[in-house]
């Protein structure tokens, strides 16, 4: 449910990084801030952290102008991972146009991943998002750590799921922008359907992704 402001000539797209606590959601945003080269890039705004843990959310604003002059503004959010902050997670997830689920590849995190993914599905339903239709990419992070599930194991477990899987080491920046561009594809399709980006604004899928400086 992107926000299209005709007066301001602006389309605001909301993307949310979801996942269990300490899986690397904020690290993803920090890497995107460093790696992406869009026309416009804001500062990463962090609202209240406790140690390494996000209490409210992180926000990274990015944007570019379409050939029509339309400002395509992205707001990238992270949710707090801890179970207790479900109300905040739900509020942040509201009106999301796309979600990256950041899972922790470590073997001892299998259960946390599953619970968080279930929580994502629940909260999506609660805020009125069509979970099966919404753009979603699953990122398995922390590939650099020992004692992780192998890519084969993960692929086998997620076999039959319709979402793209990306392996990443957010700390070193690997797979971060790949994850992001994987998400941008379905997001563009949704936006184009609703706002006719190509016809009305001369913005096709390739320039949409290129506009973000991926």
């Amino acid at each position: 449910m992107a926000d299209y402001d005709e007066d301001a000539h602006r389309l605001t797209i909301k993307l949310v990084y979801y996942g269990p606590a300490m899986s690397g959601k904020t690290t993803n945003l920090m890497q995107l801030h460093d790696q992406l080269r869009p026309d416009m890039k804001g500062e990463l705004m962090t609202l209240e952290t406790q140690g390494d843990r996000t209490l409210f959310f992180d926000l990274l604003p990015l944007g570019f102008r379409a050939p029509s002059g339309l400002l395509v503004k992205f707001k990238l959010f992270t949710v707090p991972g801890q179970v207790a902050h479900d109300g905040t997670r739900k509020a942040v997830l509201s009106r999301a146009d796309g979600v990256v689920f950041v899972a922790d590849s470590q073997r001892n995190q299998v259960l946390n991943n599953a619970e968080s993914f279930e929580n994502l599905a629940e909260n999506a339903a609660r805020v009125g998002l069509d979970f099966d239709a919404m753009p979603l990419v699953v990122q398995f992070n922390k590939r650099d750590l020992p004692d992780i599930l192998s890519e084969e194991e993960i692929a086998e477990r997620w076999q039959g799921a319709q979402w793209p899987l990306v392996f990443a080491s957010a700390l070193s920046g690997e797979g971060v922008s790949e994850t992001f561009s994987q998400l941008l594809e379905p997001v563009y399709r949704h936006m184009d359907e609703t706002y006719l980006l190509n016809i009305n604004h001369g913005l096709d899928a390739a320039s949409f992704i290129k506009g973000m400086g991926v």
Partner: protein
């Protein structure tokens, strides 16, 4: 779906005016004026928000950036670097305002989420509470129903138990009555023959001949006859009295006057019961009474008789060859105590605690309902008393009935 309207959302775009809020005041204007001299602050729609003095239209303007786009412009003549710095200061102020706004809105959303969740949980709890309350009421009703059914069954069983003991009683009574009836009938037959003999004297007496009369008198053995006639009648009177007494004793067991309270001598009750059950007991055991002096007791004699009879029958069943049943009465510590001892088989220790339980019986199926002692205990309790039992296997059993003289 419980998403809030996007108009209230924590992450909606905010205008310069909204962000400045209370800061969009003279105070900010004063500071900007002392930094910049005359200035003008526009919002994103080019409306003037704050100004000082008059600023010419061709004076330079600097965008105030928030996130990635301008939310307003600052216009002032003079040093462009100072203008940039002032715009940056305003941007920092706005950024801080935006953070505050987002955090507080998000907090509100979270609180409302928690509140909604609590309300849902509360509603669910209320619902389940109602469910359980209904269930509890239903269960209560069903328990009542079951209790009624059990009470009815229990009453029927009490009745059956009573009928069984009445049956046993009737057998004893029949024997008891049969005996006097038998000899009374035989006496009457003899008496009838004697009357015939006496009639035979009529002719001799009519003749007036003393010799003839004396001879006939002697032939008829009238001296013996009259003496025997007398004793026959005497014996029959005793027999008839015995029958009358049995019948009167039996009345004590008839249910007609059962519930009535009376002041009675408990020793009388013991005697009555022994009389009624006497024949049955005496076939098996010797009955020894040791009745002490007792004050009158306010009680329901019919029920007390039931208890004594049941105990006596139990004792009779316990004893074997050469058995002895001893009934003693005494006043002990404000209670009338009736002690019924037998030298029978005794009660096994593991059964001793259960003998008063309803339906507990060691007798064969059909030989006892297992309610006899339960009924006894209930009756004694209803009189405010208690039953104690001592028993040794092979040595015998003593039941002591305590009935308080003061009543319940």
């Amino acid at each position: 779906m419980d998403a809030l309207h996007s108009g209230d959302a924590f992450d909606r775009e905010l205008s310069l005016r909204e962000l400045l809020g209370a800061f969009a005041s003279e105070r900010l204007g004063r500071h900007l004026a002392s930094l910049l001299g005359d200035f003008r602050l526009y919002d994103e729609k080019n409306q003037t928000v704050l100004e000082s003095g008059s600023v010419a239209a061709d004076v330079p303007t600097i965008d105030i950036m928030l996130d990635i786009e301008p939310v307003g412009r600052l216009q002032a003549a003079g040093n462009i670097e100072t203008l940039k710095a002032a715009a940056e200061l305003v941007a920092i102020l706005l950024q801080s305002q935006m953070r505050y706004h987002m955090a507080s809105r998000l907090h509100e959303e979270q609180v409302s989420h928690d509140y909604q969740r609590l309300q849902k949980e509360h509603a669910a709890l209320l619902k389940s509470e109602l469910k359980y309350r209904t269930l509890a009421a239903e269960l209560e009703a069903r328990v009542q129903e079951q209790v009624e059914t059990l009470k009815t069954a229990e009453r029927q069983l009490y009745q059956a138990e009573k009928l069984a003991s009445v049956g046993q009683l009737a057998a004893g009574v029949a024997h008891e009555i049969n005996n006097p009836i038998g000899f009374i009938r035989s006496n009457l037959t003899s008496a009838s023959a004697y009357v015939k003999d006496i009639s035979g004297l009529r002719a001799a007496i009519a003749s007036g001949d003393a010799k003839k009369i004396a001879a006939a008198w002697k032939t008829a053995d009238m001296d013996f006859l009259l003496e025997d006639f007398q004793s026959l009648l005497q014996e029959s009177i005793v027999g008839a009295d015995r029958v009358a007494r049995i019948v009167s004793d039996l009345k004590g067991f008839s249910s007609i006057d059962h519930g009535k309270e009376e002041r009675i001598d408990l020793n009388e009750s013991v005697r009555t019961v022994c009389n009624v059950a006497g024949s049955r007991i005496q076939q098996k055991a010797q009955l020894v009474l040791e009745l002490g002096e007792l004050p009158a007791l306010q009680c329901q004699p019919g029920h007390i008789n039931d208890v004594l009879l049941a105990m006596l029958f139990n004792a009779t069943q316990a004893v074997g060859e050469g058995g002895e049943i001893r009934i003693s009465t005494a006043v002990e510590g404000g209670d009338i105590c009736v002690r019924i001892s037998d030298n029978g088989c005794g009660i096994a220790p593991e059964n001793l605690s259960r003998i008063f339980d309803p339906f507990f019986t060691t007798r064969e199926v059909g030989a006892g309902t297992g309610l006899g002692l339960t009924v006894c205990r209930d009756i004694v309790r209803a009189h405010g008393g208690r039953i104690e039992v001592e028993s040794r296997v092979g040595a015998g059993t003593t039941f002591t009935i305590h009935l308080p003289l003061k009543g319940r």
